[in-house]
C-alpha cells in the first residue's frame, strides 16, 4: 500500500519523468518529509511497482532506464554526497569484469538497487577481479555483482568466488547477470545466484539482506 503522500512521486517515477520526480521530491522535502522516508516510502514503492510489472517477458531497458534515471535524480538531490553507509541498507559492489566493456546491464542493476535504498559501489567496466575483491573488502560489501554480455568473460566470473575466499571474504555473496551469464548456471559460473533480470537479482539480494538465506 502506497502512502498517499507519495502517490504523485511514485506516478512520475514510473512514467520516467525525471524533472517532475525531482520537483516532487523537493516539494516533499520542503514540506518537512525526511529524506529516508522519501526513499523508503516513495522510491522503493515505485521500484516495487516496476518490479511487479517487469516479468521476464516484458522487461525492457528503455522503461527501466527512464525510471532509473528519475530515481537517481531524486537520490542525488536527497544525498548529494552519496548515500551514507549508516543510512543505506546493505552495500553491494558491482562491476563488468575484465574482457567485457558492455556496461549497460550493470548500470540498470545499479539503478534498481539504488532505487531500493541499497548503497552501491560501481567499479565500471573491464574491471580486474582483484580490483573487485579489494573494493568488496574495503567497502564491507554484503555481495558483489558481476554483469556479462559476452561469453569470453565467463572464465573471469569463475575466478571471483575463489578470489574472495582466499582473502577471507567467503561470506560475501556473488551474483551474476547479463545476456551471456544468464544462459549459464550458478554452479557452472561458481557463483551464488544467476539473475534473470535486474529485479530478479534485487529480489535475491533482498532475501540476503533479510537474512532469509543465511
Amino acid at each position: 500500500m502506497i502512502n498517499p503522500e507519495m502517490n504523485k512521486l511514485v506516478e512520475v517515477l514510473l512514467a520516467g519523468d525525471h524533472a517532475a520526480a525531482l520537483a516532487e521530491a523537493r516539494r516533499l522535502r520542503a514540506a518537512g518529509m525526511a529524506s529516508e522516508r522519501i526513499v523508503t516510502e516513495g522510491l522503493e514503492a515505485a521500484m516495487q511497482r516496476l518490479d511487479d510489472k517487469c516479468t521476464v517477458e516484458s522487461f525492457n531497458l528503455l522503461e527501466i532506464m527512464l525510471a532509473g534515471r528519475a530515481v537517481s535524480a531524486v537520490v542525488n538531490e536527497l544525498y548529494p554526497e552519496g548515500v551514507p553507509p549508516e543510512q543505506g541498507r546493505d552495500t553491494f559492489v558491482i562491476a563488468t569484469l575484465e574482457g567485457d566493456v558492455h556496461d549497460l546491464g550493470k548500470n540498470i542493476a545499479k539503478m534498481v538497487l539504488i532505487g531500493k535504498g541499497y548503497r552501491v559501489v560501481d567499479l565500471g567496466k573491464d574491471c580486474p577481479v582483484e580490483t573487485l575483491v579489494n573494493a568488496a573488502e574495503r567497502e564491507h560489501a554484503h555481495a558483489v555483482l558481476v554483469s556479462g554480455l559476452i561469453t569470453p568473460v565467463i572464465p573471469q566470473v569463475r575466478k571471483v568466488r575463489p578470489a574472495l575466499d582466499k582473502r577471507g571474504l567467503g561470506g560475501i555473496r556473488v551474483v551474476a547477470g547479463g545476456a551471456a551469464l544468464k544462459q549459464s548456471s550458478a554452479e557452472a559460473l561458481n557463483v551464488d545466484y544467476v539473475a534473470e533480470t535486474a529485479f530478479d537479482g534485487a529480489r535475491y539480494l533482498d532475501s540476503v539482506a533479510r537474512g532469509a538465506l543465511s
Binding site: 517477458e57 516484458s58 531497458l61 532506464m65 527512464l66 544462459q183 557452472a188
Partner: protein, 336 residues
C-alpha cells in the same frame, strides 16, 4: 539438393531432403582456422577463406559475409577500439549527445572504412561457391545503428526526451542500411540479413518497435527486394514473442527466434514465415555434443511436419565454441 536449393525450398515451405543447417558462425570461423580475430575482421580475403574452411569442416548450408556490428558506425566516423581476439567496440561515437545527424553523410561502401573489404569477401564467397551455398551478407538494423552512432544509453534517453531528433537518427541509420545492403547484393550476397539486436523487446517495448522501427524496417526490406535479394531475413534475438507477429508486415521472409520463445509458439505466431533458431548460444560453449544433438534433434522434430525451418542458434555461436558441438548440430540435420 545443394545447400542453396535446400534453403530456397525451406523458405517456400516446399519439401527438403533434410533440414538446412545455418549455424551463426562469424568469428568462430577465424578461431577454427587459427587466425587472429582482429585480422579476420579487417581482411575480406581472409574472412572469405576462413568461412569456406569452416564450411568444408562442418558441411553446413550457408556462409556469412559479416564482420561485426561496428562496421557501419566506423564507416560513418566513429572510432573503434580493436582487441586481438574480441570484436571491436566503439571508443568514440561519431555523434555527441547534442550532435546533429544532418551533418553526417551516408558512407559510400566502395571506400568507407572496412566496407570495401566486406564487399570483397562477398564477391569471393559467391565466386568460389558457385551458387551452391547461400552467401549471406549482414547489415545493422536501424535501431542498432542508431545506438552505435551515439551510444545506447544516450540513444534511449534521446528517444524519450527528443523523439523528433531521435527519428532523424533512425532515418539516417535506415539509409545507411539500404546503401550498404544494396552494395552487398551487387557484390554477390544472395541476401543481407538485418541484425537489429537493439530492436529486441529486451531493449524497447513492442509499441516502440511497431511505431518507430517497423516503418524503417519496411523501407530497408523493400529496397533489398528491389535490389534482387533472394529473401529478407530479420534477426533481433531475445524475447521476441511480442514483436514476431510484425515481421511479415516488415517484409521479412525469414524470422530468427531465440531460446526465449518456444518453437510451438513461434509457429503459432508466424504460420507462413520461415523460422530459424533457436538453440542457446552458450550451449555450444558449455554443453557436451550429446546435449547439443538432443536439443537440435528436438527442434528438427518440432518442425518436421510444418517445414519452413532452418536449424540455427538464437544468436551468434560464440567464437570460442567447441567445434564438436557445432558438428553435432549439423549432424542432427542429417539425422545422425
Amino acid at each position: 539438393m545443394n545447400s542453396l536449393e535446400r534453403i530456397k525450398a525451406a523458405i517456400a515451405f516446399a519439401p527438403v531432403d533434410r533440414t538446412p543447417a545455418v549455424p551463426q558462425l562469424f568469428g568462430h570461423a577465424a578461431v577454427l582456422a587459427g587466425v587472429v580475430l582482429s585480422d579476420y575482421l579487417r581482411d575480406g580475403g581472409l574472412l572469405a577463406r576462413c568461412q569456406i574452411e569452416a564450411l568444408q569442416h562442418y558441411g553446413h548450408d550457408l556462409v556469412f559475409a559479416f564482420m561485426d556490428l561496428c562496421v557501419e558506425t566506423e564507416a560513418v566516423g566513429s572510432i573503434l577500439q580493436y582487441r586481438e581476439n574480441q570484436y571491436p567496440d566503439v571508443a568514440s561515437y561519431v555523434l555527441s549527445p547534442a550532435g546533429d545527424v544532418s551533418v553526417l553523410a551516408v558512407p559510400d561502401p566502395a571506400i568507407a572504412g572496412r566496407m570495401p573489404e566486406l564487399l570483397r569477401a562477398a564477391g569471393i564467397l559467391r565466386l568460389e561457391l558457385d551458387d551452391t551455398v547461400l552467401v549471406a551478407g549482414c547489415v545493422a538494423g536501424p535501431m542498432t545503428l542508431a545506438t552505435q552512432l551515439i551510444g545506447i544509453e544516450t540513444a534511449l534517453y534521446l528517444a524519450a526526451d527528443d523523439p523528433a531528433r531521435f527519428e532523424k537518427i533512425l532515418d539516417f541509420s535506415a539509409a545507411v542500411a539500404i546503401r550498404y545492403g544494396t552494395a552487398q547484393i551487387e557484390a554477390g550476397v544472395h541476401l543481407p540479413i538485418v541484425f537489429d539486436p537493439s530492436a529486441s523487446p529486451a531493449v524497447v517495448p513492442p509499441q516502440f518497435f511497431r511505431e518507430l522501427l517497423l516503418p524503417r524496417l519496411q523501407r530497408v526490406f523493400a529496397s533489398f527486394r528491389q535490389a534482387g535479394a533472394l529473401a529478407n531475413w530479420l534477426n533481433t534475438a531475445g524475447p521476441t514473442e511480442t514483436t514476431l507477429p510484425y515481421y511479415p508486415e516488415a517484409g521479412a521472409d525469414i524470422a530468427n527466434f531465440d531460446y526465449y520463445v518456444e518453437p510451438q509458439r513461434a509457429q503459432q505466431l508466424l504460420p507462413r514465415t520461415c523460422l530459424d533458431g533457436n538453440l542457446k548460444s552458450l550451449l555450444f560453449v558449455e554443453a557436451s555434443p550429446d546435449e547439443v544433438t538432443a536439443a537440435a534433434s528436438r527442434l528438427v522434430a518440432a518442425f518436421a511436419e510444418r517445414g519452413g525451418f532452418l536449424l540455427s542458434s538464437g544468436c551468434e555461436i560464440p567464437p570460442e565454441a567447441k567445434p564438436e558441438n557445432i558438428a553435432a548440430m549439423v549432424a542432427a540435420c542429417r539425422g545422425g
